[in-house]
């Protein structure tokens, strides 16, 4: 019962994040919305694992958390520097070679 309530609350939170991704006036609102949506997905998978009596889903949820983190970092870095190479590093010099 408790898990079901938590899952319902998660659904509401996911909807709210979706609304923010849709309305978000700036770019960073949207990035943050996707990031928090990913976190909600992680929680959702863990909750589903407990709802269906398979707590080993928690491991999978942890992997999702890793992907989410790296993905958000990649997107933000892309916007800051325009590429994935180190800022001011080898990539810019490498293109001249």
């Amino acid at each position: 019962m408790m898990f079901a309530a938590a899952t319902a609350a998660l659904c509401v939170a996911m909807l709210l994040a979706l609304v923010r991704a849709l309305l978000g006036p700036t770019l960073f609102d949207r990035v943050l919305a996707v990031n928090s949506f990913g976190t909600k997905t992680v929680l959702m998978i863990a909750m589903l694992g407990f709802l269906t009596d398979r707590p080993d889903f928690t491991d999978i949820a942890l992997l999702y958390a890793l992907i989410n983190f790296v993905g958000t970092l990649a997107v933000l870095k892309f916007f800051r520097y325009g590429s994935f190479a180190r800022p001011g590093g080898r990539a810019q010099q490498g293109e001249g070679e």
């Binding site: 979706l18 919305a33 996707v34 949506f37 999978i60 790296v70 997107v75 892309f78």
Partner: protein
Amino acid sequence: MVLTVLLIIRLHNLFAIVMLSGIFSLLAATFFVVVDGVDVAFTEAAVGAGISTVLMLGALMLCGRTEKIPDRKTVLPLLVAVVTGAALVYGTLDMPYYGDPEAPIHQHVAPRYINDSLAETSVPNMVTAVLASYRGYDTLGEVAVIFTAGIGVLVLLSRIKLGRRKEDEDAA
């Protein structure tokens, strides 16, 4: 999910669309977990929400952030999509129910694997027998793919290291 797709179609800000497609991938991954396809879900999250979002952003850098309004209405693609979707839905009508023990996949070769795999392959573990003997070529292909990916990663890493050494020499 349907809401997300409708929003993607309606919106004209391409950046928002890329972000929404990431969200769609995460939703699809949750869906796959619900129907017990955990590995598929994981691939969807990694490729759909991770790599393809980044690739789309790279494309966005090249082509600008707002959508161009097409000159004329396109009816044919919509028709093709609807017909294909209807055919797919029609195809699922014949499928056995989820988890049905009478389904063909449980009746066709599975009993033979269970009964005869020890005699035929003399591998005591049933899963190993299927992977390494019955599906040997399939597994060989998968190993080749993973091996190639590993070599690629090693080459990239060693290039980074070589580049640093060259910079050090230049500095000295």
